[in-house]
Amino acid sequence: MAKITFILHNGTEQTVNAIAGMSVMEAAVKNMVPGIDADCGGACACATCHVYVEPEWRDKLGKRAPMEEDMLDFAFDVQDSSRLSCQIKISDAIDGLRVRVPEKQF
């Protein structure tokens, strides 16, 4: 079990409990976190689960896979901290993870 905090565009925070093995996207969708659309359902095929990882967590998550890097071409305002949340697997090691949700996945 890990706690994941989503910082919404308006600044409010939503913390959810997630089971190891799920993706951060699934944790968001399951808890109806606004701003995570996840059109493709987690196939890394749509870039509508874009999040920005808070600085203190960036190194702990590892690097984007090439497929994820490709898909980020379809996201807007991509930054160094950008990730597709369907590609972040939840484990005890990322308990407390904080990510920012963009205004919209457009």
């Binding site: 659309d37 059109d39 493709c40 359902g41 196939a43 095929a45 749509c46 870039a47 509508t48 890097e69 490709d70 980020l72 071409d73 379809f74 996201a75 807007f76 305002d77 991509v78 205004e103 919209k104 996945q105 457009f106």
Partner: protein, 342 residues
Amino acid sequence: MSDVITTDAVIIGAGPCGLFAIFELGLLDIKCHVVDILDRAGGQCAELYPEKPIYDIPALPIVTGSELTHRLMEQAKPFHPQYHFNQMVTELIKHGDNDFELHTDGGIVFRCKVVVIAAGGGSFQPKKPPIPGIDAYEGTSVFYSVKKMEVFRGKDILIVGGGDSALDWVNNLQPLAKTMTLLHRRDEFRAAPDSVNKMRELVAANKMQMKLGQVTGLTGSDGVLASVQVKGNDGSAFDIAANTLLPFFGLTMKLGPLANWGLNLEQNLIPVDTEKFESSEKGIFAIGDINHYPGKLKLILSGFHEAALLAQQAFRYINPGERLLFQYTTSSSNLQKKLGVA
């Protein structure tokens, strides 16, 4: 007034579930017309992951989205489905029990006995990047698709993106344009290598420019764009002069007009029963990713099962009082005749 197409069933969505519904309905002699907003069949399989392998289709250990689509169309062929692409169903009117009228945005009108909504996550629409003030330029300077190339003759065009749409239109519109610039966030493209090479040759020949960065703002007046503000990959900020902007960030799914058809919806999904996969409206079925019921799994194979079951109920509506004989394709010469194999 356009002619009305009269048919047994209209299937909304030509994704895998919609395609398999043609087959299951066809076995029961139910004729189908299929409507899809895309220009081809396949739905998400065609648009989101045509080349990505799928591993959980029964009996196909590995299949790509486009191959699966192709095979499903082959399987449906004996039933002569009629496809209507580039069409969105905008209106659904109920005239009575098993009497529906549907309108598309392209002016097609259907009259049918049952409706099958196999619309997946909704209708695909181009992603509109949330650049401040972009709305003011849409349709005059900002376009999300190319319908007529002539519109772009003599323009200063900026195309944004790194996929096939972006690269294809760079190469196709460059000869018409006054100036052509491609902006992408990195010097790597996921488009077909041929189109990337062609673009690089145009750059080398000074016929166009390629810049690395992302759009931050737009400047212009009265709906006419003058320049685009860009944050370069090196952190610099610069402007690109352009009176035409074509952003290609792929497509997204929006529920669209079906929200207004009077069906019960729960979180943008259509609740159905698990015997008939029927919506709150008699004769309107929903299968695949668009429906919801306890235990629902958004898998293609679930949609196949749902298609088989809805066909049973559709038969009862279309042939009231007639006995429905359950038959296997392996042993029924009747079914084999329909399939054109007996």
